[in-house]
Amino acid sequence: MTWDARPPLIPRLPFQTRVGLASTAGDHTLDRPLASSTVLLEQPIEPLLVELPPGRRDLHQCAGLPWLVMVHALGENRTGTNYWQAQAARIIAAADIVVARFDLSGHGESLAGMDVRTWLRQCVDAVTIARRHRARSVHMTARGLHAALLAGQDLDGVRIAVFPPRPDQLRWWSSVRDRVDSELLEVDFSPGGEERTFWEACGADTSRLRGFRVPVGVLRDLVTPFLEGSVAWTVAVTSSRESTGTLVCGGGPLTRLESERSGLAHLLREYLARVTARGNGGERS
């Protein structure tokens, strides 16, 4: 790990993004039960990619359906490592749930920098879009350290923390927390020990993290709620049952393997389908 006060690789403003017309041409693998359609919606910060349930050709046909907003982990994009979010979106959409994803600023196709307030706004914008399209309810998932973003959302659905870190997995933070917020952490080698535990608990794959840069202040904003116990979600996906309000998914927090990704997607689908069938589910901190 080295410290670097240079500007981030990703440029700040000015930048412009726009998206194409919301074409609804279908996924033509129609022999597959998961075939669905996707639309791109323009948003103030980054486009929203929305997966429509099979048989629904546009968002007008989705009025009254529940929505799920998926928030990716640190260092990945809206597609997810090994396409996990893209795959999960299709599987969950097959349960008549509209699924929306986006690149958090500073990730994927974003030309802007990383900023937690911007990320919170992006989540709010996605929920607003869902309500504008008459969502029955809006649920949200967030993976790893980004589960901290769930607490700030005004949702009528459930908040699902996907492999959120435990405070004991964040010990390495104490070795860097005194740095100024504007400094950039660059992971320039494959870390080990507590540092590896930290990044993986955050949801970042250390085998692919080399070259990743994140401002200290961003980590502070996200780590602090976990250390202070001010995070909140309805249910957490973990690798073993730790308490009530837990769903168990085998493998580790990185869900690298195809079988793990598929299992996680089906678990989320079943949970959301049941929650939708009985109401929206209760909140739990």
Binding site: R18, G20, T38, T79, D188, R213, E258
Partner: protein, 251 residues
């Protein structure tokens, strides 16, 4: 070329195909008309953004530094495009590349076909088809960490796990790969090319002399994915210098 991308207009859309569609990202310079087009294909199991955002970063930097349109896309079955990963084939991915060129490459402007890893195979096969069809736009091939292996043989089962089970692909994928001759296609196109690779990428370093004898190569002190900010800046510098010279030569 500072290595720090400047103002870029980034546009996302779907490129429609007869059997599916590809999520596509188009970068255009904000203040001037683009002088040409660079189309970039991602690696197998990758997506338009590249590992750690490498391709998104390279695209913005090339767009700003060379004043060119840069187009990236997810091949069918990958990323946010339609289709299932286990159905990917080189024929389809090459068709995707050509469809993206038809839809987004500027008319009457130079075209550079580029690829990272296996994306280099797609770029090479596609450019050969374009040249064979008499398309006058292709001017060069840009290969990033792509060795265009030929004569490979795979010992695989009916369904083969990749990277310890992170993905699975059918035997047909590997048999198709065995049949491809991307280096021959590159030479047949008659176009100049640049190969940029990490000096610590042992496999690529071993075959770099073949490329050096026939084109331009640049080795950067890094691994395969240009994993440090310095390595990424060097990658951008090498690619931008090559593309800029190419455009100046033609004009």
């Amino acid at each position: 070329m500072s290595g720090e991308p400047g103002p870029v207009r980034r546009h996302q859309l779907f490129t429609e195909l007869p059997t599916g569609r590809c999520l596509t990202v188009v970068d255009d310079p904000v203040e001037v008309a683009p002088r040409g087009t660079v189309v970039v294909a991602h690696d197998l199991t990758g997506d338009r953004s590249g590992p750690g955002g490498l391709l998104a970063f390279l695209a913005a930097a090339l767009c700003d530094g060379c004043q060119v349109r840069v187009v990236r896309f997810d091949t069918r079955g990958s990323g946010d495009s339609s289709g299932a990963f286990q159905d990917v084939s080189f024929a389809d991915m090459t068709e995707d590349f050509l469809a993206v060129v038809r839809a987004h490459a500027l008319a009457d402007r130079p075209l550079v076909c580029a690829g990272f890893g296996i994306g280099g195979v797609l770029a090479t096969l596609a450019v050969n088809e374009l040249v064979s069809a008499g398309d006058p736009r292709p001017r060069a091939v840009l290969l990033v960490s792509s060795r265009l292996a030929e004569g490979v043989r795979f010992d695989v089962g009916p369904v083969e796990p990749m990277r310890g089970g992170e993905f699975h692909l059918p035997e047909a994928f590997f048999r198709e790969r065995e049949s491809l001759r991307p280096r021959s296609a590159l030479l047949a196109s008659g176009l100049p090319f640049l190969l940029v690779y990490g000096a610590k990428d042992v496999e690529l370093a071993a075959c770099a002399p073949w490329f050096a004898q026939r084109g331009t190569t640049v080795a950067i002190e890094s691994g395969r994915g240009f994993e440090t900010s310095d390595a990424r800046a060097d990658l951008v510098r090498a690619c931008a210098t090559y593309v800029t010279k190419l455009l100046e030569r033609r004009s």
